[in-house]
Amino acid sequence: MIETNKNYIRQNIAIKRLDGRTYKDFRKLSVETNLIEKAEGSALVTLGETKVLVGVKMDLGTPFPDSGDVGILMTNAERSPIASPEFESGPPNDDTIELARVVDRGIRESGCIDFHKLCIKEGEKVWMVFVDISILNNDGNLFDAAAAGAISALLTAKIPKLNDNGTVNRSEYDGALVVTDLPIMVTTALINGVMVVDPTADEEEVIEGRVHVTSIEAGICAMQKSGSCEFTEEQIMTAIDNSIAMGKELRKQLKKK
């Protein structure tokens, strides 16, 4: 983006954004589930022009030595070069790793999955839940799209049957993965002193920092400050308020499905 456009965004951000939204507006989020039959659960999230595809796979694994009676959540993100001219091939970079870890923390800390129920044999065998996030088109705010995709895919996930010899039978299911809450991440970015919800890719070129806040009904379950700027406590509270408000709406929308 050229410098004059960047300046334009910065100067008008408090009044009106390039796409006509106010600083409190979240773009339209839509979710299509179960389009990957081979996955145990899947969701394609569209947030404005941002598209993120999330698949859930369940596999058998050995529990960690210090928590032998709980299943394992593995959240992984890939920035396929398909999604943006800025994305390069190769292993996940620090942005992608942060994305995966912040989404992971939102799910994990919300308590929405009782991982004790995913223990098959204590100390020996548990279910591993792989949440793989794949970015198809990057028009900004990948964090919120990925988080919505992850929880939506988990909501549709089924647990494969175990054969008598202990192997996985992926053609039959043993019921759904039980998900008891709906953690929703809402990101607020700082541009020229204004706290702006759900930034686009254009806006991300001028933001100074972001606050990612994941909420559930009972409160906030994960936060992350990102970017090399400072925030006042008030600005953090604005981000928290945005997340609580928008979280309520999106939880309603996702529950309906």
């Binding site: 081979k38 022009e49 596999d59 398909i82």
Partner: protein, 241 residues
């Protein structure tokens, strides 16, 4: 071609001229092609062939890095084929592997012959193919989608490339093997052809066939590719309506 034992439901893969998914011997699986599905890309396509689902995007012509890969007299076509972790029954580890490296190479070689690479010396045309669900025929679907994405990106080409496979299953030559036919059949022969003069730009064979059977398979593949090219053109025309 794996020689794996057949489960009961696939003991006979052809019954009275009908295949296990109801198709005829020379019938392709349902094919959907969409164009312009990835907004950030210069060109893109989505292809569904049965349950096989593929996204392709083209970026460029643009600068090529690292510089030692630059070709002075033409553009480089970089192809990256990959299968998403959840696209297969048992989760695939992300990142390139030997299979995806080979397929990236044969897809690149399948498309290069129709592109006027010499028009963009020293530049890079990048084609990325992400398989979001793999159910037999991902490399041919990659060629179909890649060719359409290149056209959608306005890359000058002398024609399109289409691709499909035929194979020998229970003694018969079948067009466009599905997953059980691929797993329990005798051979698979994927072939890509140019739209202009039907020359062969990708060909692989897994499994035993006589020369005569190969020739018979190519006849089926020609018919399949004629249909696929018509669908590719239809999809590209749709964009401008």
């Amino acid at each position: 071609m794996s020689g794996a034992k057949r489960p009961k439901e696939y003991e006979k893969l052809i019954v009275k001229g009908k295949r296990c998914d109801g198709r005829k011997i020379d019938e392709l699986r349902p094919l959907t092609i969409k164009v312009g599905v990835i907004k950030r890309a210069n060109g893109s396509a989505y292809v569904e062939l049965g349950k096989t689902k593929v996204y392709a995007a083209v970026y460029g012509p643009k600068e090529l890095h690292p510089r030692r890969l630059v070709e002075d007299d033409k553009a480089v076509l970089s192809v990256k084929y990959s299968m998403l972790a959840f696209s297969v029954n048992d989760r695939a580890r992300p990142g390139p592997n030997r299979r995806s490296t080979e397929i990236s190479k044969v897809v690149k070689h399948a498309l290069e012959p129709v592109i006027f690479l010499e028009e963009f010396p020293q530049l890079n045309i990048e084609l990325i193919v992400d398989i979001i669900q793999a159910d037999a025929g991902t490399r041919t679907a990659a060629v179909i989608a890649g060719s359409v994405a290149l056209a959608n990106a306005g890359i000058p080409m002398k024609g399109l490339v289409s691709a499909c496979a035929a194979g020998k299953v229970d003694g018969e030559i079948l067009l466009d093997l599905n997953a059980p036919e691929d797993n329990f059949g005798d051979s698979d022969l994927p072939i890509a052809m140019t739209s202009t003069d039907k020359k062969i730009t990708l060909m692989q064979l897994d499994g035993v066939m006589t020369k005569a059977e190969i020739q018979k398979a190519i006849i089926l593949i020609r018919k399949g590719n004629d249909y696929i090219i018509s669908k590719q053109i239809e999809a590209l025309k749709g964009v401008y309506q």
